[in-house]
Symmetry: C2
Subunit: 385 residues, 2 copies
């Protein structure tokens, strides 16, 4: 099979920033692409050869789109997996596999999977409704605080809540959920593993995520994580075990908790390029998007090593502003050393919306972190007057 400068077409479900950054790599390789996204304004509407507007959760839309491509992938988990399975049955290659996606889409199934494969994860229990969870509390099987997670379609901190009292409990939406032990976390880490159909794998360095205290969104991602080598190695080993257990094809981003007692727990995984890997565009020998492409095309994988240290700053819409976006003071940020902006191409800002990110690279991670803080304190994502 030859992909380069041919009619071979890669279909991408989802045209957000991840799709857009993946297109930068398909353009580099000259691989034809078609993108499906519900929004006519999707960031990935430029850079593909064909853009279709449509609902990613609609069976027919996804099925029809998939029938027209040679290989199908996705940049978002919230897609119609029944259609993917049908396409697979009919001979369309879908990577990452629908089977792994189905498990990952449901946090209950995902947790069961870890248990079954002896992958360390926080103790948990499944409930078909918050009412049953409440009964379990009354019976003393669970106690505050604990972590509530909706089993379906959580994203960027939605569908996850720390429940500290009856009032928190009463505010939970209906539906399937899990309760998870609330452990004291010292660091949130992530490791990206790439695996191709030949079963070859590469494991990226461990990154460290620093979260915004209120919005539960990542503010900084640091690579390498500032942790002892032994912990790094354990984290990479666990991430590789997860990817191999899933027999994943493409990228698998594994989010991990480092507990105060020194345990490493798998929090959750994403079978796609991930916010925690954006630093790789500037810092790595092979960035995560090119790596995903290599993996799903069953090409040799590239080196996951870093050329330099990297820190990524997410640019999210400032609270109190909704409307046409303005990146205030971006010029001052551009004057700082080793700074590269990625503006996703969303015209409208709203509080906490992911609008872009900025990567800071430097041979020294501590200096990169200092510059990153300056970036964060300088730039403002607001709306025009």
């Amino acid at each position: 099979m030859t992909y380069f400068s041919t009619d071979f077409t890669l279909g991408i479900l989802g045209g957000g920033q991840l799709g857009k950054m993946l297109l930068a790599e398909t353009l580099k390789y000259d691989i034809r692409t078609a993108v499906l996204d519900p929004s006519a304004d999707a960031p990935a509407r430029f850079g593909c050869q064909r853009f279709e507007q449509g609902d990613l959760l609609d069976y027919d839309t996804v099925y029809q789109f998939g029938k027209k491509v040679n290989l199908l992938t996705f940049e978002i988990e919230n897609v119609n997996v029944d259609a993917l399975e049908q396409l697979e049955k009919e001979g369309v290659t879908v990577y990452p596999t629908p089977k792994s996606l189905r498990t990952i889409q449901d946090k209950g199934l995902q947790k069961d999977f870890y248990k079954k494969h002896n992958i360390p994860t926080a103790p948990f229990e499944y409930f078909s409704s918050p009412t049953l969870l409440n009964e379990s509390l009354i019976q003393g099987k669970w106690s505050y605080p604990f972590v509530w997670k909706s089993t379906r379609f959580g994203y960027d901190g939605n569908g996850v809540k720390i429940v500290r009292n009856d009032k928190d409990l009463a505010s939970l939406p209906q539906g399937d959920c899990i309760a998870e032990e609330y452990a004291s976390i010292t660091k949130e880490l992530a490791v990206i593993v790439a695996r191709n159909a030949k079963g070859e794998t590469v494991t990226y360095p461990v990154v460290e995520m620093e979260f915004h205290p209120e919005a539960n969104q990542v503010e900084y991602v640091l690579c390498p994580a500032r942790i002892p080598q032994t912990i790094s190695e354990r984290a990479q080993k666990i991430a590789l075990q997860v990817a191999q257990s899933f027999e994943s094809i493409g990228l698998l981003a594994v989010e991990l908790f480092l507990t105060q007692t020194g345990e490493i727990w798998v929090n959750e995984v994403a079978p796609r390029p991930h916010n925690s890997g954006h630093y790789s565009i500037e810092a790595s020998y092979t960035n995560q998007f090119e790596q995903h492409l290599r993996a799903i095309l069953n090409l040799p994988l590239g080196s996951p090593k870093s050329k330099v240290a990297g820190v990524m700053v997410n640019l999210v819409g400032e609270e109190g502003y909704t409307g046409d976006v303005l990146y205030k003071h971006i010029e001052e940020v551009l004057a700082l050393e080793g700074v590269t902006p990625h503006i996703y191409g969303k015209r409208q800002t709203r509080p906490f919306r992911k609008m872009g990110h900025i990567t800071i690279v430097h041979p020294n991670i501590e200096i990169a972190r200092i510059i990153a803080q300056k970036v964060k304190e300088t730039i403002r994502v607001i709306a025009k007057k």
Copy 2:
């Protein structure tokens, strides 16, 4: 002025690989673009917001295209400069400036410019035809061997010839030309300088070019050049002097000869991203395309320093093959360390056509060069059966 995620539109004359790689950066910054190119199959037809097919040398086509954009730039020198000058008069910003382009387009004017600004360059003489050059030879003012250059529209070694005898002389096409002293060159070097409208400049490291012995095309570009520090510094100083003399805005790629007697001569310049700067996508803190964008938008310039050493291998069509391109053994190349392919998106190969390039990065330039040779010896750009 704000450019990011607005209606501000950058017009790009030329949609070849340089335009395509520039679009990777406009997408990163979310700056709207329009591209004009004579070919419906131009590599940069994807990734822009608007693509127009048209003749870059036609006054009206260029003028009408320019009237619809906020800022006009070009990725190729062979454009209608009269139209650019008229657009500038009517208030359209054109960077690099039409004035510098007019000088650069004509090799006679370019050489005069160097003379006037005390910029070291090979001794030369202008002739309005090869017949007059022949008379000069007969009179003993010139003797074989010397370098003949057409004053207009030379590209990739076309329009340049080493004239060694009467037969060579007889084969020269009619038209304005210059004769240039043929010196023994030890190395061909290049330095890219970026300058914005505020007059800020940054100078990239010196690169070294290795040429294909027959096709007079660059086979390898190495950064850093393997030359003594003192020569590096002189080369950078001369390149900066050239950029400042032109009051250039945007990138200026300065090609230099290092002679056997240790002199550095300016060969010629290109007011745009340049083949000799492709290594920067993987190796530099700020790649040449992002730098060009920063410069023409009058934004702060980024660091031109390298994270790692880089070697670029041009992928040109193999002799004897014309037709639908096949990148044979590209998979073996992808398995080598630190390798990134750039496939330009031309469907048809022909002998010596620039079809793509491959960058090899490594902390050590000597190892990068060894891998580059392996790349070159492995991949074949041929046509499908």
